[in-house]
Amino acid sequence: MAEWLAFARGPLFRLSVAVMVLGLARHLAVTVWGLIRAYRLSDDKNVSWRRAAHQTLDWLVPVRHLRERWFYSLMSVIFHIGVIVTPVFLLAHIRLLQKSIGVAWWALPMTAADVLTLTTVVTLLLLISGRVGSGAARGISRLQDYAIPGLIVVPFLSGFLAAHPGLNPFPYNPTMLVHILSADLCIVLVPFTKLAHMALLPLSQLPSELAWRFPPDYPERVARQIGTQGRAI
């Protein structure tokens, strides 16, 4: 079991992170390239960067949008804070990193980490039930929209249990193995699922600003290719 644990938190973790980082880097590069290309191909260079920046900030810090469907929105915001802050600022994680690469930073106090972990789990479960319970959300949900949140619950819950042996009905090592393997799986899935929005979100308001500035003669080129050019309407 110890070897399994070492493998999961060593090479497997490093591989997962590498896949995530490279995958997201590719997504970012492709997106930035698309934005630059759209800008370059258009005759209309009068882009409102200010409006785009405003929209981006508006959604990165979505306080203004809490009024609409306030409970769901609030749960979503709290969940996102928890899902980012907890793993990054957990003392146990930082210690591991310090041991392997010698880098460390400020850590959450234990109680805060516990509260945040449980809050993340609870808000996530509420979000899942919100999706199941709402006709609109159910109508547009795919398998991954249930599977990904379901998967994210696992490392948080198993991590919490591993950190509190008194509350844990399972032995430590299997709990820890589940914790690390599920976390590795979450990490490796980032570039291949909707989790990619963690990197793409800061860029995602820009297309709306640029996309309507079409290349000047594109409609005619399309018509030429499909053979409708010059045809009566």
Partner: protein, 496 residues
């Protein structure tokens, strides 16, 4: 959604269900009429057009990004007035966008193609195309979902793309394509098929009418004046239906010394290309620019029309060639003149409750929101707002060209216009100001179909015409036409 909600909206579900029918019929049961076209091999044709679109435009970048980023959070469902009314998941913006993302992922990404090789692939079918065709014209392209999407997904852009592709394979509402055909290939070059002589006659009639109303004969509709600063393009239907709006425009231009003209070569600001196809959009924009160049004009002035304003404002710089003329909406001019003190409006004439409807195409991105309100507040004693308003307004329900599709009226006013009807009722307004030809038509039908008694749908300049003070002309107070509906009989009797 639950089953009961589905049953309540049976007519719409019924339409979608029919279009799901596996039997390919020669005439498809869309909720809009289409002209006969070659219906064979539609999925292949669809993919050919889409491939060409992705190659020559920048759509592939956005499809790629939206495919990756869409979290299906369903916030768009919360803000969509159509879904809010029907409760039908087919009307959720994200569901509609998924119709094209699905095609993109399957046929234009490596993973989609690999999956197809492995044998478990979804295939584009006639049924999918029918669902898409029905869905994209249920949407009024109001773009409320776009500004409310946390992930920034521009659902309206996706609808725009689907409409373009379907137009190229022949699936396009007849009402829209007939208008575009007349505008681009007809004898009159305008969507209402008004001959130049008729337009000139109308202008002369309006001048006479102004002379009569104001006892002042200097307000003119200048035609083909060279080197004017502004070439004026109202929605051409205004020449048939909105005499007061045009007279209001002319009165403001005259009172403020605006250098303007109407071009006989092209006098239609309407651009249904925006609703169906960028090829048409581009050509209509080029017609506008050509007319401005012919007359040696400097700028384009669009009349009271939302989509005409947005098409010109957004797409003259895109499709208008080098050094494109600046685009201004007539309300911008009026507002500027008012703030510069060059326009006198009598604040004692309009005492009834007035409310303002934001046309999506000028308000959604925050272009013209406060200015018409400032104008109205300058002369309306009783101005009330709708909620929500401005950038977050509800569409009149006739956006995206649907207002011109008469066979969709029941859907437009019953479902598309339900929220707007409730809003109007809540204001208790006598005058509903809507500075948009399409909104006005739709709102009048809403007033009729929802029995909103006593509400009069007017343009902003219709009201300005009632209150404008022009030196030498009959004062506004003396030319007030007493409306029997609101007449103060006692006061009228006392005044003789």
């Amino acid at each position: 959604m639950d089953a009961s909600a589905e049953n309540e909206n049976e007519p719409m579900v019924e339409t979608a269900a029919v279009s799901h029918d596996a039997v390919v019929r020669p005439t498809r049961p869309y909720s809009f009429y289409i002209e006969p076209y070659d219906e064979t091999d539609r999925p292949r044709k669809f993919l050919d057009v889409m491939a060409a679109m992705l190659r020559h435009s920048t759509y592939d970048h956005w499809l790629d990004l939206y495919s990756k980023i869409s979290t299906k959070c369903s916030r768009c469902a919360e803000v969509c007035p159509i879904y809010d009314t029907t409760g039908d998941p087919h009307d959720i913006p994200c569901y509609r966008t998924e119709l094209i993302l699905k095609v993109y992922r399957r046929y234009f990404t490596v993973s989609g193609m690999l999956r197809a090789r492995l044998g478990h692939a979804w295939e584009l079918t006639d049924r999918h195309i029918d669902e898409m065709a029905e869905s994209i014209y249920h949407c009024t392209a109001c773009r409320r979902c776009t500004i409310e999407c946390p992930l920034g997904i521009d659902h309206a852009l996706m609808t725009h793309l689907m409409r373009h592709i379907l137009t190229e394979i022949g699936v396009v509402p007849k009402a829209l394509v007939v208008a575009v055909r007349e505008q681009l290939e007809g004898a009159t070059h305008n969507t209402s098929a008004i001959p130049v002589a008729a337009m000139v006659d109308t202008c002369e009639f309006l001048e006479e009418e102004l002379t009569e109303q104001l006892e002042y004969d200097k307000i003119k509709f200048p035609i083909d004046v060279e080197d004017a600063e502004y070439v004026f393009f109202p929605a051409v239907s205004d020449y048939l239906l909105e005499a007061d709006t045009l007279m209001g425009n002319a009165a403001v231009f005259h009172a403020t010394g605006c250098s303007w003209t109407i071009g006989s070569g092209n006098f239609d600001g309407i651009n249904y290309g925006l609703f169906v196809n960028d090829r048409y959009l581009r050509r209509i924009i080029q017609q506008l620019v050509t007319e401005v160049r012919r007359l040696g004009g400097a700028k384009i002035m669009i009349g009271e029309c939302g989509h005409a304003s947005r098409s010109a404002k957004d797409f003259v710089p895109v499709f208008g060639g080098p050094d494109p003329p600046e685009v201004v909406n007539c309300m911008e001019w009026t507002h500027r003149m008012l703030t510069e003190g060059r326009l006198q409006l009598n604040p004692d004439i309009i005492t009834d409750v007035v409310t303002y409807h934001d046309p999506c195409n000028i308000a959604r991105r925050g272009w013209i929101v406060d200015r018409p309100r400032e104008i109205l507040r300058a002369f309306c004693r009783n101005f009330v707002e709708m909620t929500p308003r401005g950038r977050y307004n509800y569409c009149c329900g006739g956006g995206g060209g649907t207002v011109s599709i008469d066979e969709m009226r029941e859907y437009r006013t019953g479902i598309g216009g339900k929220k707007k009807a409730d809003q109007i009722r809540a204001t208790g307004a006598r005058y509903l100001v809507a500075p948009c030809a399409n909104c006005k038509k739709q709102l009048r039908e809403i007033v009729e179909d929802h029995e909103l008694e006593g509400v009069e749908v007017v343009g902003l300049h219709d009201l300005i015409l009632k209150v404008i003070e022009i030196p030498g002309a009959k004062p506004a107070a003396d030319r007030t036409v007493v409306d029997p509906m609101t007449m103060d009989w006692k006061g009228a009797a006392e005044n003789g």
